[in-house]
């Protein structure tokens, strides 16, 4: 009897302790953020024990705790599935969250409601843990909705700002559209397989799983900001930087991809859904990479970078490599959270300046932030033997050597080079050159909270790829032999992107743009997608409803058909056919004269 389940439950319970304590005096304490951060670090360390047990012996566990209810033939209970995916994701998520909490102790320290902020972050983390360890779809849905709600509360943290409220509402609406797909899948499983448990779903055979997998794809599109339901992710940058680092880079937005990875036994036999996923992911990654090229807000560039990497994860699922996608989720969390934290450090140091056109020359002023930003960008673009290489390069290799859609593959390669391009853009505008900000500010990054948190993620960004990929159990066989030009594709494309972007950025220092071209406007306005969808669709539906309800029913049928039409018709016809002049006396007199004359004349008829 080993300690697997005990340690895991302990770790999860430790996370909930500060929430339970929030009704006591502890919550009003100035040290509450420290308690939350320490609780998260303890939970991380305790959860490493079951993970190492899993890595050593491959032991998976399902903990079924509490029977909630039985609806006719379906049993709903609280059960945790601690398998490959959740065992590796939980320590990664806890590690990243630990660093982000330490960072937000520095970032938000002047906020009067910092205790509430930490409570919200912790609630988010708990619901995310519920999501990844769920064994049945009901518990997964609880976690799914929970992360959506916490995302809403955290994006609208500065609720006095109209843009923040709009962005939070936008996030909730787009996630809701995805939830429709999720509920449809749950209903299908309930009707056809009589269960919401993952085990029973995977062993039951059925002729086709098209409809529930489409529902899951829609749910992933909503939650992971794929093309079509993507505008909420860049708008979500209205929230504080720790929120962007935690939710919208590492944890919440991968929930959609995680859902598809969870259901990979159903997807691996369904070619249609795989092709749909592949094409959707390819479109997303290219479109968001194009949009990232011309943004001027540093957080928006990193948000579009997240969106592009999510598209890459969908591409990986589309070529039937769920384990690679999962590896990319874990490695991506490290460097993306670090990128967000570095941009948070820059923003705070420059006195809340987020526009990269007003930054510059930070290379000498913020050395540590510069280092971590450059390492994070290199890891993102897949520099060999940093973290991103172990997942991203493998993905590109598998895509190159698989029998798949060539167009999607080409688009993914273009997006990979664009990744290098916009990373160069961030580094060039924020770090290099002469300073473009006001010289009256004190720039100091020597806070241990900031340094330690970024340092932890820095070490993770450099080594975590190696450690994770050499510790996990081998699942699918990676492609061992391929022509050398295919092997070097990712590297060559990335280097091409770097060089091209560097040249173009250097030319902007000397030459002047005459007028923004059409391509620039397309990229800078996010492909016109939010402009069209947020204005045209509501206006159309409101116009249709006005025409049908008000015009058709009320005005026409109730008012116009009988009463007004009769009076109108009568008036028109009487004006048409009346040519009298109203000389009534004359008419009467002539009548009388005619009567008398007829009486007199016709008296002599005999």
């Amino acid at each position: 009897m080993n300690m697997f389940s005990s340690c895991m439950i302990t770790a999860l319970v430790i996370l909930t302790l500060p929430i339970i304590m929030s009704s006591t005096k502890l919550y009003k304490n100035k040290l509450y953020p420290y308690y939350v951060k320490t609780a998260t670090s303890y939970a991380f360390m305790i959860s490493m024990i079951p993970t190492m047990m899993f890595i050593y012996s491959g032991q998976e566990t399902i903990i079924s705790n509490w029977h909630w209810m039985t609806i006719q033939t379906m049993k709903l209970s609280m059960s945790f599935k601690l398998d490959y995916f959740s065992m590796i994701f939980v320590p990664v998520a806890l590690f990243v969250t630990w660093s982000i909490m330490e960072f937000s102790m520095w970032y938000m320290h002047s906020d009067p409601y910092i205790n509430r902020f930490f409570k919200y972050l912790l609630l988010f983390l708990i619901t995310m843990m519920v999501l990844v360890t769920a064994n049945n779809m009901f518990q997964l849905f609880i976690g799914w909705e929970g992360v959506g709600i916490m995302s809403f509360l955290l994006i609208g943290w500065w609720y006095g700002r109209t843009d923040a409220n709009t962005a939070a509402l936008q996030a909730v609406l787009y996630n809701r559209i995805g939830d429709v797909g999720f509920i449809m899948t749950m209903a299908w499983f309930l009707l056809n397989l009589n269960t919401w448990d993952l085990q029973q779903i995977f062993i039951t055979t059925n002729d086709n799983f098209n409809l529930p997998l489409l529902g899951l794809l829609l749910a992933a599109t909503g939650k992971s900001a794929q093309f079509g339901l993507h505008p909420w992710l860049p708008s979500a940058m209205e929230g504080p930087t720790p929120v962007s680092a935690l939710l919208h880079s590492s944890t919440m937005v991968v929930a959609g991809v995680f859902l598809l990875i969870r259901f990979h036994p159903l997807m691996e036999h369904n070619q249609t859904i795989q092709t749909l996923t592949l094409c959707l992911g390819a479109i997303t990654t290219l479109f968001t990479a194009i949009c990232a090229l011309t943004q001027n807000d540093i957080k928006k560039i990193v948000a579009f970078s997240t969106s592009s990497q999510l598209g890459l994860m969908m591409v990986t699922i589309g070529i039937n490599q769920p384990y690679l996608a999962f590896l990319h989720i874990c490695t991506h969390a490290f460097f993306k959270a670090m990128l967000f934290m570095c941009s948070g450090s820059i923003i705070h140091s420059l006195n809340d300046e987020q526009d990269i056109r007003k930054m510059g020359g930070l290379f000498k002023v913020l050395p540590f932030t510069t280092t971590s930003l450059i390492i994070g960008s290199l890891a993102l673009t897949g520099m060999p033997f940093l973290t991103g290489f172990y997942s991203k390069d493998l993905i590109i290799e598998s895509a190159n050597t698989s029998n798949t859609n060539a167009w999607a593959l080409l688009i993914t390669l273009v997006a990979t080079s664009l990744t290098a391009a916009y990373s160069t853009r961030i580094m060039f505008f924020a770090l290099l050159g002469q300073p473009r900000f006001s010289p009256m500010i004190l720039i100091n990054e020597n806070n241990p909270l900031l340094i330690n948190s970024i340092k932890r993620l820095l070490i993770g960004s450099v080594f975590a790829g190696y450690i994770i990929s050499h510790s996990i159990t081998p699942t699918t066989i990676p492609q061992m032999t391929m022509p050398h030009y295919l092997k070097m594709t990712a590297l060559a494309v990335t280097i091409l992107g770097f060089i091209l972007a560097l040249e173009l950025n250097l030319t902007t220092q000397g030459l002047k743009f005459n007028y923004p071209s059409n391509y620039f406007k397309f990229s800078s306005l996010l492909g016109y997608y939010p402009t069209i969808m947020h204005r045209l669709t509501p206006k159309t539906s409101l116009t249709i409803s006005q025409k049908s309800a008000f015009m058709l029913l009320d005005s026409i049928w109730l008012e116009n058909i009988l009463p007004k039409s009769i009076s109108y018709f009568q008036m028109k016809s009487s004006t048409l056919i009346s040519n009298q002049k109203g000389l009534i006396k004359l008419y009467f007199l002539s009548f009388m004269l005619t009567m008398i004359l007829s009486l007199l004349i016709l008296n002599y008829h005999e």
């Binding site: 002049k581 109203g582 009548f591």
Partner: protein
């Protein structure tokens, strides 16, 4: 023809003349119309009662109903004209506007 019939017939003719010949007020024409209806009613009732045409006894009632309807119609037209002009002078009816 007996004296009664001639009397009532004369009343009818007189009202008819009154309706066809009027000078300024539309109201006088309507009043003479009522007079015509009245004389017709009396003549009809006397004829039916004298000749014992029992089955035709409902006709004076019907005549009265229709007379009432047309009187109402005439009065409404008068009121329409009077609303526009304030008086019911016939010279106002020279412009047929709807």
């Amino acid at each position: 023809m007996s004296m009664v019939y001639i009397n009532i017939f004369l009343a009818f003719i007189l009202s008819l003349m009154g309706m066809l010949v009027y000078r300024s007020h539309l109201m006088s024409s309507l009043l003479c119309l009522e007079g015509m209806m009245l004389s017709l009613f009396v003549m009809m009732s006397v004829t039916i009662l004298n000749n014992h045409l029992t089955l035709a006894s409902m006709m004076p009632i019907v005549l009265l109903v229709f007379a009432a309807c047309e009187a109402a119609l005439g009065l409404s037209l008068l009121v329409m004209v009077s609303n526009t002009y304030g008086t019911d002078y016939v010279q106002n009816l020279n412009l047929l506007q709807c």
